[in-house]
Amino acid sequence: MTYASLSLTLLFVLIPLALSKTLKLGLERDTMIATVRSVVQLLAVGYILNFVFASESVLYMLLMISLMIVAATLNVRKKGKNIPGITWKLVVTLLSIEAVIMSVLLGLQIMPATANFIIPISGMMIGNSMVLCILFLNRFQSEIAANEHTIELILSLGGTPKQAIHQQLMDSIKASMIPTIESQKTIGLVQLPGIMSGQIIGGANPIEAVQFQILIIFALLTCATLSSIILGFLVYPTLFNERMQKIVD
C-alpha cells in the first residue's frame, strides 16, 4: 500500500468527525487526538520494529518487551491505586505470563525464536493481560465494596483473610475470564481475528493463517486464566494486615 492510498483512509476519520459535529456529540477533539496518536505511535513502532528486526539483537528485543510491560503496568496501576504495592504486583503478573507463554512456544519449538515472531506475540499477550488486569481490578474492588459486611462477618467469626475474601476473589477471576472465553466461542463465525486477516491480506495461505491463529487463541486462553489468578493471589493478602484486619477501603 502506498502512502497516497493510505492517506485516502482518512475518509474513515472524516465521517465520525462530520457526524460528531452535525449531532453536536462533542467528540471532535478526542477523535482528532486519537487519530494523531494512533498514526504517530504505529509509525514509530513500525520504524522501531524495522530497526530491531534488522539488528537481530536479543538485547533490543528484551528492551522492547520490557517497554511493553512498563507501559502496560503504568496504564493498569491507576485502577488499583489503593492497593499497596500494585506496581510490582502487575510487573510480576505480566512477566510471569510472558515467561510461561514464551517457555512453551520457544521451548517446544512451536515457533521460531526470532524477533519478528517473539515481539508481536509478546505484544498481544501483554496487551491482553493488561485488559484482563483492568477488568479484574475493577471487578474485585467493586465486589469488596459491595460485600464489606460479609467479609467482616467471616473475619469476626474467626475466618482467615483468605476465607473472608474467597468468594469475591473467585467471582472476580471468573468475571474477567469470561470475555476471552466468550469471544473464542464465536471466533471465525462473527469475525476474522486481526492477525489472521492480516496474514490473509498479506498473501498467506488461509490454512496456515488459521493454524497460527489457533496458536494465538490457545495462548490467549492461558493468558486470560493466569492474569487474573496471579494478580488476584498477589493482591488479596495485602488488603489485610498481620492482625487479619481489612486495611483497604
Binding site: 467482616e152 467469626l157 474467626g158 487479619m244 484486619q245
Partner: protein, 241 residues
C-alpha cells in the same frame, strides 16, 4: 469476687487524624452484662470491634482475661469473643448454612442435631432449619445471628445495637434471650444500646461514652444516679425522646 473478662488500659484509637477513642481505661467483668450508652459518634462500635480484634488500638493495652490481646492469634480471639451486629449480615443461603459457617471456617461440620439445639437456644423452631435466611423477619435474623455466634461457644458476646430496628415484641424476645445466655451459660455480654430503659433494665454495669471519652463506668444503678452533669444531661435527653 469480680473476675476480669476484658480490660482496657489507656486505650486510644486514631484514624485519618481523628481521635475516635481517647485514653479509655476500664474493665468488663466476667459473667456480667455491661451496657454501653452514649450519643452517636461516641466511639462505642469502635470500642466493641477492638474487643475481638477487628480493630487494633493506636495506643494503650487491651487484656483478654490476663493475656495481652496481641498475643492471641486473631482467629482464636474472634472465636472466644463473638460479635453480633445491628445489620445481622447473613449469607444468601439457608438457615442451616448460616449456622454451619463458623464450623466451616474451621473445616468442621455442624450436625443437624447440633444446629437444631442452637436454634432452640435462641427460640427458633426446627422448621426454620432449611428456610432461606433472606426470608426471615428482622427479629428472626437477629436471633439467627446470635445463634451463629453461639456455635463458636464464645466466652464473650459483643452486641452492637441488635434491637434498634426491631418491633417491641422482637425486642423483648431478644432481651430475654440475652439474659438467658448470660444466666444459663455464663456468657459475658457487652451490649451497645440506644435504649436507655434497656440499659437500665439489663445491664449489671454501664459505661457512658461521649466524643471518644469514657465519661463514667459504674454499676448500672450507680451510673443512673450519677451526679456527673454530662451523664445526667444525656440520660434526661434520651428519656425525653
Amino acid at each position: 469476687m469480680l473476675q476480669h473478662a476484658i480490660t482496657f488500659n489507656h486505650v486510644s484509637f486514631e484514624i485519618n487524624q481523628m481521635n475516635l477513642l481517647k485514653n479509655i481505661s476500664g474493665t468488663f467483668y466476667k459473667g456480667h452484662i455491661t451496657t454501653l450508652i452514649g450519643p452517636s459518634g461516641a466511639g462505642k462500635t469502635t470500642l466493641l470491634k477492638m474487643c475481638n480484634g477487628l480493630i487494633s488500638a493506636s495506643q494503650g493495652q487491651i487484656m483478654i482475661e490476663q493475656e495481652q490481646i496481641e498475643r492471641i492469634e486473631p482467629t482464636v480471639l474472634r472465636r472466644r469473643v463473638g460479635i453480633a451486629l445491628q445489620s445481622a449480615p447473613l449469607l444468601k443461603n439457608s438457615v442451616y448454612e448460616n449456622l454451619a459457617l463458623p464450623r466451616k471456617l474451621q473445616e468442621q461440620k455442624l450436625s443437624k442435631e447440633e444446629a437444631l439445639s442452637f436454634l432452640q437456644a435462641v427460640g427458633l423452631g426446627a422448621n426454620f432449619l432449611m428456610r432461606e435466611a433472606a426470608d426471615l423477619s428482622g427479629g428472626q435474623k437477629q436471633k439467627l445471628s446470635i445463634a451463629r455466634t453461639l456455635v463458636n461457644q464464645s466466652e464473650v458476646l459483643l452486641l452492637d445495637e441488635i434491637t434498634s430496628a426491631l418491633d417491641p415484641k422482637s425486642v423483648r424476645e431478644i432481651e430475654d434471650l440475652v439474659v438467658q445466655l448470660n444466666e444459663k451459660y455464663g456468657v459475658t455480654i457487652i451490649w451497645i444500646t440506644h435504649n436507655i430503659e434497656q440499659a437500665k433494665k439489663l445491664g449489671h454495669f454501664t459505661w457512658m461514652l461521649k466524643e471518644g471519652q469514657l465519661i463514667e463506668a459504674a454499676a448500672t444503678d450507680a451510673l443512673f444516679q450519677s451526679e456527673n452533669p454530662v451523664v445526667q444531661s444525656f440520660i434526661q435527653r434520651e428519656v425525653a425522646l
